[in-house]
């Protein structure tokens, strides 16, 4: 992928966030339009904190965040119009049906009703939710809830989709459906940023992979780039990841 010709979908410059200790430390990160970017790292590395700052759920202590050229800290409403957020714990309303949930989300993003309804029908069809489209979500399995949440994230046709461990706890079939939908979004020109602990998923799906540890980006690139950074001893992303993190721990 020739990154020089691609528009920047997300740019983080010197972003820091501190709780009791630094969670994210002067992080610089650039993700290009139409790219599938995987952010990997050990537990407590700062992945989720980074993404929560990008979608406006946390305010950084320092730095800047630009989404599609919009300063997300100065004009969060405009930035949010372009983004969708999906966490590992699907947060939906138990007492609404999937259709009602999608109508609610479309209303929040001010999507034209006719367009939103068509998208909702398409998404429900793609995700295999049709038989349950008019049932309340309270009896849904985790996988079905995650599908409803994913449909909600896509119903407003976001340019940038940010997902935090979206495959956690999903069965193989559901995980495949989610991955297919995300791939289709990228093919259609959307940008996807995803954190995952499942390194095979990052290896297979991502155009580029960022390795984060101690709140800093310690390595970034394609799988080949990461292998090169580890002295070509690594044969898989798992090997490269473990080597990079071990080096970071040793350096710290």
């Amino acid at each position: 992928m020739d990154q020089l010709n691609l528009p920047v979908a997300l740019a983080l410059r010197g972003v820091s966030k501190r709780f009791e200790r630094p969670a994210v430390d002067a992080l610089d990160l650039t993700v290009y339009g139409g790219e599938f970017y995987a952010l990997v790292g050990p537990n407590g590395a700062g992945k989720t904190t980074t993404l929560r700052m990008v979608v406006g759920l946390l305010r950084p202590d320092a730095g800047s965040i630009c989404i599609d050229g919009i300063d997300a800290l100065h004009d969060p409403v405009a930035a949010k119009q372009l983004t969708a957020w999906l966490s590992d714990e699907p947060m939906i309303y138990d007492k609404l049906t999937p259709y009602e949930y999608l109508e609610f989300v479309a209303g929040l993003w001010r999507i034209e009703p006719a367009i939103a309804e068509e998208r909702a029908r398409d998404l429900i069809g793609w995700l295999g939710l049709e038989p349950h489209a008019h049932e309340r979500c309270e009896g849904f399995s985790r996988g079905m809830r995650q599908k409803v949440a994913l449909a909600g994230a896509l119903v407003h046709d976001p340019k940038l989709i940010i997902l935090d461990e979206p495959l956690t706890g999903l069965d193989a079939g559901t995980a495949r459906q989610v991955k297919d939908v995300l791939r289709a979004r990228v093919r259609a020109g959307g940008t996807v940023i995803m954190t995952t602990h499942i390194l095979e998923v990052a290896e297979r799906m991502a155009d580029r992979i960022g390795v984060i540890a101690g709140g800093r980006l310690i390595a970034e690139g394609t799988l080949e780039d990461l292998r090169r950074q580890t002295g070509a001893t690594a044969t898989s992303l798992e090997d490269a990841f473990l080597t990079l993190v071990a080096e970071q721990v040793a350096a710290a």
Binding site: V55, G56, L57, V77, A78, A79, K80, Q81, T83, A84, W85, S87, M91, I92, Y93, D94, K95, L96, T97, Y99, E100, E103, F104, V105, A106, G107, L108, W109, R110, E112, P113, A114, A116, E117, A120, A133, H134, E135, R136, E138, G139, G152
Partner: protein
């Protein structure tokens, strides 16, 4: 040291869990708050003892055992307390059935499930007794100090009442399981518990309204009708009242009856309790309801979308409706009073106005917590392209809309009778609602709607502020409706409470 998995060992485990749960409830989960919680408990205990001195000290020396009107009042109070205890015990039993926290561990362990559930039932009884003792202790202590140690017998009566209430709660809940099944028992048991808790108070008030034109429960207990139908002084019916008054024979009988009833219930139901708990855990509480999509997506403003969501969620949650409607149930006597006032044309609206204002404030507090703090998809709403202020204002509008929907008809009826008090009442409802909502805004937390029952634990300050603000606005409204300038006093107190809440609110101090 007891054998692992024996009854005493399990009892020790349950006691430890119960103690930690109680400490967590008192300190809202914060260890550093333990000292503050202890100081607050001591202060509350002292205030309650003063209150008890003010209300019951005069009766400490009276010889009430041969006084039928006094026995009627004491028996009435015991029935009232028992109904509240039964309500509380039913809540606990239902919660024990449906809480899956350690059920898998218990049922897959080689320990006797019957023993485990027997101990758990006993724990419910102990919790009911301890809670009742905490409430009754100031009154009993004051009476004992002023009138002699015979009044300590009342503690024994509390034990007996707690035991009987728990036994009855177990029997009622098991019966519900058998009658309506595990799927429906949860909701029905909670509604029944709430109605039992409120029915006696409301029943007495309604009798009092019709017999004496008053909202006082004591008016009903001391009415001629009640005294005419009271049993003879020698009747065993008065034994519980005599036990409270220090008749040790009556006390022994009452305690023996209570404990044996509880023991029998535990022996009878501990096996079934396990079976029903398994049934409750295995069944989905969800009824699959297919809704046809007819109207399609509609164009609505963001505020409308948010308001509509809140109302839809509330309308579709029978448990939440039952919890919130309980507060409205307490309005029934005042509505009755209003009706009688309208018919007879007297000035009893002075009583109705503060009751309505108070109820509106309390109901608004609950609804405001649900809409502002009880957001099940906080990330979704926070990442939507809407300014935070607009989200909050839509949620506040949802609360005010709901309160208006409930109280507008009552105010309209009042307006037909007396226009000026109706305007004062409407204003009081608006102020109490706005204040309760503002308090919830200041103390907003992120929680799930299912945590509604424990909302008070997140902030004691918010709970007390909400209650005192509603009381102050109710008093101000009553005085204003009566045309008194004294309304300014409670109005200023209410405003002071709001100012204090704003100054000390976490959302302000942490920003």
């Amino acid at each position: 040291m007891s054998q692992p998995a024996s009854l005493t060992w399990l009892a020790g485990h349950e006691f430890r869990l119960g103690w930690r749960d109680w400490v967590s409830l008192m300190t809202a989960g914060g260890r550093t708050r333990a000292r503050n919680a202890l100081i607050a408990l001591i202060v509350i205990a002292v205030i309650l003892h003063f209150f008890a001195y003010w209300t019951v000290a005069a009766y400490a020396d009276a010889n009430l055992a041969s006084d039928i009107p006094a026995l009627v009042v004491i028996t009435g109070l015991l029935v009232l307390s028992s109904s509240l205890l039964l309500s509380q015990a039913m809540e606990s039993v239902t919660r024990a059935f449906y809480s899956r926290s350690d059920l898998d561990l218990i049922l897959t362990s080689p320990a006797s499930a019957r023993n485990v559930f027997a101990v758990r039932m006993a724990r419910i009884a102990v919790a009911a007794v301890v809670l009742s003792m905490l409430v009754a202790a100031p009154f009993i202590n004051v009476l004992a100090v002023r009138g002699g140690i015979r009044w300590f017998a009342a503690y024994g009566m509390v034990v007996a009442m707690g035991a009987v209430a728990t036994a009855a709660a177990l029997a009622l809940t098991i019966a519900l399981f058998r009658l309506v099944g595990a799927k429906r028992t949860r909701l029905i048991a909670q509604v029944v518990a709430a109605i039992i808790g409120a029915a006696f108070v409301i029943g007495l008030q309604i009798i009092a309204i019709f017999s004496a034109g008053s909202l006082s429960r004591f008016a009903a207990l001391q009415s001629d009708w009640m005294l005419r139908h009271a049993p003879q002084i020698s009747s065993a019916f008065w034994w519980p009242a005599r036990a409270v008054l220090g008749d040790y024979v009556a006390l022994a009988v009452v305690i023996a009856f209570g404990l044996s009833t509880l023991g029998l219930s535990i022996a009878l139901f501990s096996r079934r309790f396990g079976e029903h708990a398994v049934a409750a855990a295995g069944v989905s509480s969800v009824t699959v309801r297919q809704r046809r999509w007819t109207s399609g997506f509609r164009w609505r403003s963001v505020s409308h979308v948010l308001r509509q969501k809140e109302w839809t969620l509330l309308r579709r949650d029978p448990w939440l409706i039952s919890q919130t409607l309980m507060q409205i149930l307490y309005l029934v006597p005042s509505a009755m009073m209003l009706w009688i006032t309208f018919r007879t044309g007297n000035d009893a609206f002075i009583v109705v106005v503060p009751v309505m204002v108070m109820a509106a404030g309390q109901l608004a507090g609950g609804l405001a917590w649900l809409t502002i703090s009880g957001e099940d998809a906080p990330d979704l709403v926070s990442t939507a392209p809407i300014v935070a202020r607009r989200i909050l204002s839509a949620k506040v509008e949802a609360v005010i809309g709901m309160i208006s929907f409930i109280f507008a008809p009552l105010v309209a009826v009042l307006a037909l009778d007396a226009m000026a008090p109706a305007i004062v009442c409407a204003l009081g409802i608006l102020l109490a609602t706005s204040s309760a909502t503002a308090i919830q805004l200041c103390f907003r937390v992120q929680a799930r709607r299912s945590q509604f029952r424990r909302r008070q634990t997140s902030s004691r300050v918010a709970t007390f502020a909400e209650a005192f603000s509603s009381i102050s606005w109710a008093a101000a409204s009553a005085l204003a409706a009566a045309g008194s300038w004294g309304a300014i006093g409670p109005g200023v107190i209410a405003a002071g409470i709001l100012a204090g809440v704003w100054i000390f609110s976490p959302s302000r101090t942490t920003s």
